[in-house]
C-alpha cells in the first residue's frame, strides 16, 4: 500500500470498498469521530436486542412462525442442559459411556437433563430448517437483508456441526460408527484430504490430513472423543454465539423484521 494515499494499492482498496459485496457486509464507512466512539459503546447489541417499538406485522405469528425465536429458545435450552450435563460427563474412552448411563439411570434429574438436551438438539435442527424455509418463502433474504442470509447459512452449518459433534459423545456403537463414516468423508476434502483432489500432490497422507486433524489419529478413539467434546462444548458454541449476535443485530440494522410483500 502506497503510504501517501494516492498509490495503486489504495485505489484498489477504494474499489473493494465500493463493491456491492463490501457494502452488503459493511453498510457505510466508519468516521472516526468522538460521536461515533461513544455510539460504539452505547449502541452495542446487548442494550438493543429488543427493539424500542415493533411494527404490527412483526408480531403476526402466521407471517414469521417465530421460527428464528424458537430456534434461539432451543439453543438456550441446549446451553443450560449441556452445562448441567458437563458436571457428570467425562470425555474419555473409558468413562464416557458409563457416565452417560450414570446420568440416565442414577443421577437425580439426570435422565430429564440428558433427554432435554437430546430432544432440543433434534428440535433445533428442525427449527433452523423451518426458519430458513420461512425466510426463503417470504423473500426476506433479498436486499437489504442479503448479508444476514449469509450469516444465517453459516449458522445452519454450525448448528449441523454441533449436532454432529454431539452425536459422538454418548460413546456407544451407534455414535462411534456414525462418526467413523462421517469423518471418512473428510478423506475426500480437496487439498487437505489425502484421498481428495490434489491431496496427494500436497503431501497429504492418512496420518496427516483433514481427517487426522478431526480424529486425532487414524482411528476413531479416545482422542477423537476428547476433540469432539472440546469442539462441541467450546469452539462451535462460541462461534455460533458470535454469529447469532451479528444475526440479531443485523435484523435491527437492516430495517427490522421484513414485512408482508
Amino acid at each position: 500500500m502506497a503510504p501517501n494515499g494516492n498509490g495503486p494499492g489504495e485505489s484498489f482498496f477504494e474499489k473493494v470498498k465500493e463493491s456491492p459485496v463490501w457494502k452488503s457486509v459493511f453498510r457505510h464507512g466508519y468516521a472516526d469521530t468522538p460521536r461515533n466512539r461513544i455510539l460504539q459503546v452505547s449502541s452495542n447489541v446487548f442494550l438493543h436486542l429488543h427493539p424500542s417499538k415493533l411494527p404490527r406485522h412483526a408480531v403476526r405469528i402466521r407471517f414469521t412462525w417465530c421460527a428464528g425465536g424458537v430456534t434461539f429458545l432451543f439453543y438456550l435450552i441446549l446451553v443450560v442442559t449441556g452445562v448441567i450435563l458437563m458436571f457428570y460427563y467425562r470425555p474419555t474412552g473409558e468413562l464416557a459411556y458409563q457416565d452417560m448411563k450414570y446420568l440416565q439411570f442414577d443421577v437425580p434429574f439426570g435422565m430429564i437433563m440428558r433427554n432435554m438436551h437430546r430432544w432440543a438438539a433434534h428440535a433445533m435442527v428442525i427449527a433452523v430448517w423451518i426458519h430458513m424455509l420461512r425466510v426463503f418463502m417470504t423473500g426476506s433474504y433479498k436486499p437489504p437483508r442479503e448479508f444476514n442470509w449469509v450469516v444465517g447459512v453459516n449458522l445452519l452449518v454450525f448448528t449441523l456441526l454441533l449436532s454432529f459433534t454431539g452425536y459422538l459423545l454418548p460413546w456407544d456403537q451407534l455414535s462411534i460408527w456414525a462418526v467413523t463414516v462421517g469423518t471418512n468423508m473428510a478423506r475426500a476434502t480437496p487439498f487437505v484430504g489425502h484421498e481428495g483432489p490434489f491431496g496427494e500432490l500436497l503431501g497429504m497422507n492418512a496420518r496427516y490430513d483433514a481427517r487426522a486433524f478431526l480424529v486425532g489419529g487414524r482411528l476413531v478413539g479416545g482422542a477423537t472423543l476428547l476433540r469432539f467434546y472440546v469442539l462441541h462444548c467450546i469452539f462451535i458454541p462460541i462461534i455460533a454465539s458470535v454469529l447469532m449476535i451479528v444475526h440479531f443485530w443485523r435484523i435491527r440494522k437492516d430495517g427490522g423484521i421484513s414485512g408482508p410483500l
Binding site: D32, R207, Y208, A212, F213, G216, G217, R218, L219, A223
Partner: protein, 187 residues
C-alpha cells in the same frame, strides 16, 4: 483514515514525510497482532497432530518365509489383519482382503483360482506367476473398479516377514513395481 489525511492533520509536509508517527505505530501494532495470531494459528495446526498415537501398530510380523508353501494363498491372517499372504516361486505379496467396491471381505476360491466378493460378485484374479506378480488381485468381473490393494512387505532383522498396512500400493496406478510392494525371496 487515509495516510495523507493523517499526515496533513499532524502538520507534516507529504513531500518530506511518507509516514506519520501514527501511521508507523499503527503498522507496527497491527503487524505484531496479526503476526503473533498467525504464528499461533500455525502452531495450533501442528499441535493437533501428536507425534505418538496410542493405536494398534500398523506394522506386524507374520513369521518366517519358509513357513509358507510356494504357489499358495495363505488365509492364516485374514481374521487378525485382513490380508492374504501370497507366496510365488520368487517372492511374497501381502494382499488386502478388502473389496475395492464397497469394502466387504472377498473369499479365496482355490478351485476357481480367484478371489470372489460375496456382496456384489466382484472377482479378482488368482495365482498365475509373472515378475512382481502383476496378475494376482486384478479385478476382472463384477462392480469392483480397481485391483485389490497390496501392503508394504519386507524382511525384518530377525528374518520374519514384516508387513505395514499403513503403506498401500495400488495396481491401477502401476505402484506394484515400486520397492516394498513385492518381497523377493527364494529359499
Amino acid at each position: 483514515m487515509a495516510n495523507l489525511d493523517i499526515l496533513k492533520q499532524e502538520g507534516c509536509d507529504p513531500k518530506e514525510h511518507i509516514w506519520s508517527r501514527r501511521n508507523f505505530l499503527g503498522l507496527v501494532g497491527w503487524s505484531t497482532v496479526l503476526g503473533s495470531l498467525g504464528i499461533g494459528t500455525l502452531a495450533f495446526g501442528r499441535f493437533m497432530y501428536p507425534r505418538v498415537l496410542f493405536e494398534p501398530r500398523t506394522t506386524v510380523k507374520l513369521g518366517k518365509p519358509e513357513e509358507y508353501i510356494v504357489n499358495s494363498v495363505s488365509e492364516k491372517w485374514i481374521k487378525l489383519y485382513r490380508l492374504w499372504l501370497i507366496r510365488n516361486p520368487d517372492g511374497f505379496v501381502a494382499q488386502s482382503a478388502k473389496c475395492t467396491h464397497l469394502g466387504c471381505t472377498p473369499r479365496w476360491l482355490e478351485s476357481e483360482n480367484k478371489f470372489k466378493c460375496p456382496c456384489h460378485g466382484s472377482g479378482f484374479r488368482g495365482l498365475n506367476y509373472s515378475p512382481n506378480n502383476l496378475f494376482t488381485g486384478r479385478n476382472f468381473e463384477g462392480p469392483a473398479p480397481r485391483p485389490l490393494e497390496r501392503f508394504y512387505i519386507a524382511l525384518a532383522e530377525d528374518g520374519q516377514i514384516l508387513v505395514d498396512f499403513g503403506r498401500v500400493f495400488r495396481g491401477e496406478r502401476d505402484e506394484w513395481i515400486k520397492a516394498g510392494a513385492y518381497l523377493k525371496y527364494s529359499g
